[in-house]
């Protein structure tokens, strides 16, 4: 093996989850379509009033992104739990937090990154300016990984419970609030002619915090869920 062992293990889990996602493309399509439909419903429902839409846009896109990533969270560990591979991951001679990190990274690449790419297109329906569209994509780029990381803790805690889906949203959505406030806030600031710098810094800080702590917290939660 050329790469050091922990890196090889990280890459191995990442590659496996991407391969699995590739073989089950329909699962990914549901999350994306959900996002697209929820965001497009608003201009249809509210009517073509450009000013109102522009004001709403950041909040609507961000809430839809929260809900879409919630929807996808259920699958993060459930499959591995059902077929016993999760036990093998826990028993692998590597730090579990690292392997959880790899799983979240793969999960984000297939469910979070497409949202980042799609959001500016959807933002056009809300008459957002080019600068606001760019900042919207940037906030999602910084924010959606945080959602996945924090959500992983919730997904690990609710693993194998009855009614896990509803419980998961009750547990995780309140934790998403800071990301929502600063994500939507950055776009609003740009729309109002202010700089998005402060908001983006906070989003970056939240992400750094989540990258550092969430995988280990999720690993502890997984061990408890497996007992």
């Amino acid at each position: 093996m050329s790469a050091p062992a922990p890196l090889a293990a990280f890459a191995c889990v990442l590659r496996r989850d991407l391969l699995l996602a590739l073989r089950r493309r329909s699962d990914l399509a549901t999350t994306l379509f959900f996002f697209v439909i929820v965001v497009s419903l608003f201009p249809l429902g509210v009517g073509p009033e450009a000013n109102l839409l522009r004001t709403m846009a950041p909040g609507v896109v961000w809430v839809a992104a929260l809900l879409a990533s919630m929807l996808a969270l259920g699958r993060l560990f459930a499959g591995d739990y059902a077929d016993g591979t999760l036990e093998q991951l826990v028993l692998a001679p590597h730090p579990l937090g690292l392997l959880v990190g790899a799983k979240v990274a793969a999960h984000w690449l297939v469910t979070g990154l497409p949202l980042v790419v799609l959001a500016p297109l959807l933002g056009l329906a809300f008459d957002l300016g080019p600068r606001a569209l760019g900042v919207l994509a940037l906030t999602l780029l910084l924010g959606t990984p945080t959602l996945g990381l924090v959500g992983a803790i919730g997904a690990a805690l609710t693993l194998g419970l009855r009614g896990a889906g509803a419980l998961l949203s009750l547990l995780v959505l309140p934790l998403y609030i800071p990301v929502l406030i600063f994500g939507a806030g950055a776009v609003e600031a740009v729309a109002n002619g202010l700089g998005p710098g402060a908001h983006l810094s906070v989003l970056g800080a939240l992400l750094a915090l989540a990258v550092f702590f969430a995988p280990w917290a999720a690993a502890v939660a997984l061990r408890i869920s497996l007992e």
């Binding site: 391969l19 073989r23 077929d83 016993g84 093998q88 028993l91 692998a92 001679p93 007992e227």
Partner: protein
């Protein structure tokens, strides 16, 4: 050497076993017997560190397995009653993933060879979804061929769903591991002809 002292298992309100102890030296086979629900799987999960015993301790070479962490997990090969193979991956891909994670030296060629030894020749590149129960079990058992260096094998019902030939193959693999100084622990409901010079049987439930 694996030592268990005064193990107790509570599942909800039920006490499955208490004051359970044994000592296993290299080359020994422990066969755990007992009716359904007597706590066999719980005992094996405890020995892996997946389940914390309600009371008692488990020592590997004198140290508590909880404090050994990764060092212990590197010595351990566990086969649960679930196969831990991904339906959407092929048998070779499954083996490559699990053995890379276990830090075994595995290549596509050696994975194919291991699967062939367990009678899966020609099925290596199929999604495991299309395999039968017995074939899936064989694909899971192929992992053992890469785990000779693991000093402790914990196998939950390794022979379930296997045909007579596969049972003999797996019994042979286990006998080889015992001969090499490994400790093997398994549960089974069938009479299995594993050649083990030093065999201990443990009966759970009253």
């Amino acid at each position: 050497m694996l030592v268990a002292n005064g193990l107790e298992c509570l599942r909800g309100e039920r006490r499955l076993f208490r004051d359970l102890g044994f000592e296993l030296e290299p080359g020994m086979l422990l066969e755990v017997q007992g009716a359904n629900g007597s706590g066999k799987t719980s005992l094996l999960r405890m020995l892996c560190g997946l389940l914390a015993p309600t009371a008692g301790e488990i020592l590997w070479n004198g140290a508590d397995i909880g404090s050994l962490g990764e060092a212990y997990r590197g010595e351990l090969a566990y086969l649960g009653h679930q196969n831990a193979i991904k339906d959407d991956l092929t048998a070779v891909e499954n083996l490559l993933v699990s053995e890379t994670l276990a830090e075994a030296a595995v290549t596509r060629a050696s994975a194919r060879e291991a699967l062939a030894r367990l009678g899966l020749r020609g099925h290596e590149e199929l999604p495991t979804r299309v395999l039968s129960q017995g074939q899936k079990r064989r694909a899971a058992l192929a992992r053992l061929l890469f785990r000779e260096r693991c000093r402790l094998w914990v196998l939950d019902e390794p022979f379930v769903a296997l045909d007579a030939q596969a049972v003999r193959d797996v019994a042979g693999i286990i006998a080889g591991q015992l001969g090499g100084g490994g400790i093997v622990i398994f549960t089974t409901h069938q009479e299995v002809p594993v050649e083990a010079p030093r065999r201990v049987a443990l009966r759970l439930g009253r």
